[in-house]
């Protein structure tokens, strides 16, 4: 356990000194701020548009229909966060996971670690903890940014329930990003080439984010990035009934989005996640499986020839 702690500390220190990790983390934080602005801006603009429509109807002596976009609940302002966590958060997770393992592989440090009285699962544990702490730290900063935004915006005060749901949203986001961190680490251990160690998880990320949602609900790739469009119900028909029942339980990108939509109040009325497993449980199961995979992969790694081929 002590050995794991040292490995974890060394990995965290290396991550903090890595410019790439800092760059991605910085980009994520910038997007958190943009997300809050976008939510506010889009909502304000709709109000503006609606007022102009009312004026136009009034000029014709008619009464405008009711605003189809009702007052957005305060948490709904953060709806873009769900998209950014799924995009840059997941990519940041992949990078962090990859870097936490690949640096030592390239420098040949695993031969030095393996020649000491530490088990491979001890090494794996240290690395996994480093990934979890780094990602939780990153999301912690994002959460803090949101909290400050809500505290300084006078028009938006959150109820106790809303604060609780915001916390749950960040737990779900943390789990989601950690799963990509573990995925990045797994392929950084198992791939023979460094390029493949990034290429394979990126392919999985693209599949989970863009291909599976299309199969289950005909969500086109670009619509998958729009928090509202992505929540559109699936077309009717036997095909989608079948794909939903088979794929939704393992589609953790959709599980995350469903959870985020419910917690942040932007799910359409009557929305129901089409899976027999709850979305939070899906995220937990995925993480559990990935942790086991990383531990097994470390156990099978040949430390004497750990360097990449490229």
């Amino acid at each position: 356990m002590f050995a794991s702690r040292y490995i974890m500390t060394a990995a965290l220190r290396a991550n903090l000194r890595d410019q790439t990790v800092l760059l991605i983390a910085g980009l994520f934080i910038v997007l958190v701020l943009i997300s809050a602005y976008l939510g506010w801006s889009a909502t304000a603009t709709v109000q503006d548009v609606y007022l102009k429509v009312v004026e136009a109807y009034a000029a014709k002596g008619q009464i405008a229909p009711p605003n189809p976009v009702p007052d957005t609940p305060p948490l709904g302002l953060l709806r873009n966060m769900a998209t950014y966590v799924a995009l840059i958060g997941a990519l940041a997770g992949l990078v962090l996971g990859n870097k936490t393992v690949s640096g030592d592989r390239k420098s040949g440090v695993y031969a030095l670690l393996a020649s000491r009285p530490i088990t491979s699962s001890g090494i794996a544990l240290g690395k996994i903890l480093a990934i979890i702490i780094a990602i939780t730290g990153l999301l912690g900063v994002a959460a803090l940014t949101n909290v400050i935004t809500f505290m300084i915006l006078p028009n938006f005060s959150l109820s106790a329930d809303e604060w609780f749901r915001l916390a749950q949203f960040y737990i779900a986001s943390d789990l989601y990003v950690i799963s990509f961190g573990l995925l990045g680490a797994f392929f950084a251990i198992t791939s023979r080439s460094e390029a493949k160690s990034l290429m394979i998880p990126v392919t999985i990320w693209l599949t989970v984010t863009f291909i599976i949602p299309q199969l289950t609900a005909n969500v086109l790739p670009m619509a998958a990035l729009n928090p509202l469009k992505a929540m559109a119900p699936a077309p009717s028909g036997a095909f989608f009934v079948f794909t939903q029942s088979v794929l939704t339980p393992i589609s953790f990108a959709e599980a995350y989005r469903a959870l985020a939509a419910t917690l942040l109040d932007f799910a359409p009325p009557g929305f129901k996640f089409q899976s027999f497993i709850s979305p939070m449980l899906t995220l937990m199961i995925v993480n559990g499986l990935l942790i086991s995979a990383v531990v097994v992969a470390f156990g099978k790694m040949d430390a004497s020839r750990s360097a990449y081929d490229d």
């Binding site: 410019q19 790439t20 760059l23 991605i24 980009l27 997007l31 943009i34 976008l38 801006s41 889009a42 909502t43 603009t45 709709v46 503006d48 548009v49 609606y50 102009k52 429509v53 136009a56 405008a64 229909p65 189809p68 976009v69 873009n80 998209t83 995009l87 840059i88 990519l91 990078v95 870097k99 690949s102 080439s193 460094e194 390029a195 990034l198 290429m199 990126v202 392919t203 693209l206 599949t207 863009f210 291909i211 299309q214 199969l215 005909n218 086109l220 790739p221 670009m222 990035l225 729009n226 928090p227 509202l228 469009k229 559109a232 077309p235 028909g237 095909f239 989608f240 359409p268 490229d310």
Partner: protein, 301 residues
């Protein structure tokens, strides 16, 4: 001598991509995504052929996959092309031979353009067959021409991202930073800029469209949007930055995914989309210019 050197470099790169199966993985992934997308879109339409249906309309999801996956794969191809030399420190061996830097770079770019075109040929031929099988309608000469122009635009679009990956992998001090920096830019160009443009569009704030929910006719919609001048300038400005958006506008028009272009003569359509074509060309030429202008560090330090 220069031509034979260029061919030698291109040949080696192509053989390398075939040997390591990179190009097969790339093509396979893009092919699966594209074919799934067309089949799903066709299924979602209930397999119907509406009266104003463009045979190529089912390609909307395909365009979006080309935008996202095509560009990501092109970056990987660019990264590999440079990393193969830098990672193995073979640049020094190559560049101590009587070869000009621009010939070396041209050979590498040429190889990757050939690989991209090969990958796209497989994908475009497969989806054309798929569309014909699914709809039971053969493609007209005009549709084949539109597909061919779309193919060329995709080649241009992917070349821009190839150059991005290649440039960073060739010039950044640490090779490991190159792929991630290129991917960060990819995120901004391909996903975030169009996403911001899309999310900020007031019409997208209500399911089914804000203006149609309010029964506002198109002319009045334009009038209202004009009143939101600055907001719209910022929104479209962000969209303009993205090569993906230009690629999307061009292919959506070409393939009749955007209804207003259905039935428009090809020459008229192309002149209506000339700005998007120029943007795409601009990205390729701009990045290509930087690539050929900058001195490469051959010592690997």
């Amino acid at each position: 001598m220069m031509i034979s050197q260029l061919i030698a470099i291109a040949k080696k790169d192509i053989q390398d991509a075939l040997r390591t199966r990179t190009i097969f993985i790339m093509t396979g992934f893009l092919l699966v995504a594209s074919m799934v997308s067309i089949a799903v879109t066709h299924t979602a339409m209930g397999g119907r052929l509406p009266s104003d249906y463009s045979v190529l309309e089912a390609m909307r999801g395909f365009v979006e996959h080309l935008e996202i996956i095509g560009s990501a794969l092109a970056i990987l191809l660019g990264y590999r092309s440079a990393a193969n030399e830098r990672g193995h420190n073979t640049l020094a061996l190559v560049m101590t031979r009587p070869i000009r830097q621009r010939v070396f770079l041209a050979g590498k770019v040429f190889a990757s353009v050939v690989l991209i075109c090969g990958c796209l040929t497989v994908v475009f031929v497969s989806i054309s067959v798929e569309i014909m099988v699914l709809t039971g309608v053969g493609l007209s000469t005009l549709e084949v021409a539109k597909l061919a122009i779309g193919f060329a635009s995709t080649g241009l679009y992917m070349t821009a991202f190839f150059l991005l990956g290649f440039l960073f992998a060739l010039h950044l001090k640490h090779l490991s930073h190159a792929l991630l920096t290129a991917f960060s830019i990819w995120l901004v160009f391909v996903l975030i800029a169009p996403q911001i443009g899309d999310t900020l569009d007031p019409d997208n704030q209500a399911v089914g469209g804000l203006f149609s929910q309010l029964s506002v006719p198109h002319a009045q919609e334009v009038e209202i949007m004009n009143k939101l001048g600055t907001y719209e300038v910022i929104r479209t400005g962000i969209e303009q930055l993205s090569p993906s958006k230009h690629f999307e506008r061009l292919t959506f028009a070409l393939w009749g995914i955007k209804g207003s272009y259905i039935g428009m003569p090809l020459s008229e359509l192309l002149s209506a989309k000339i700005i998007d074509i120029l943007w795409l060309l601009g990205y390729v030429l701009g990045l290509g210019g930087v690539l050929f202008k900058r001195q490469v560090n051959f010592t690997g330090d």
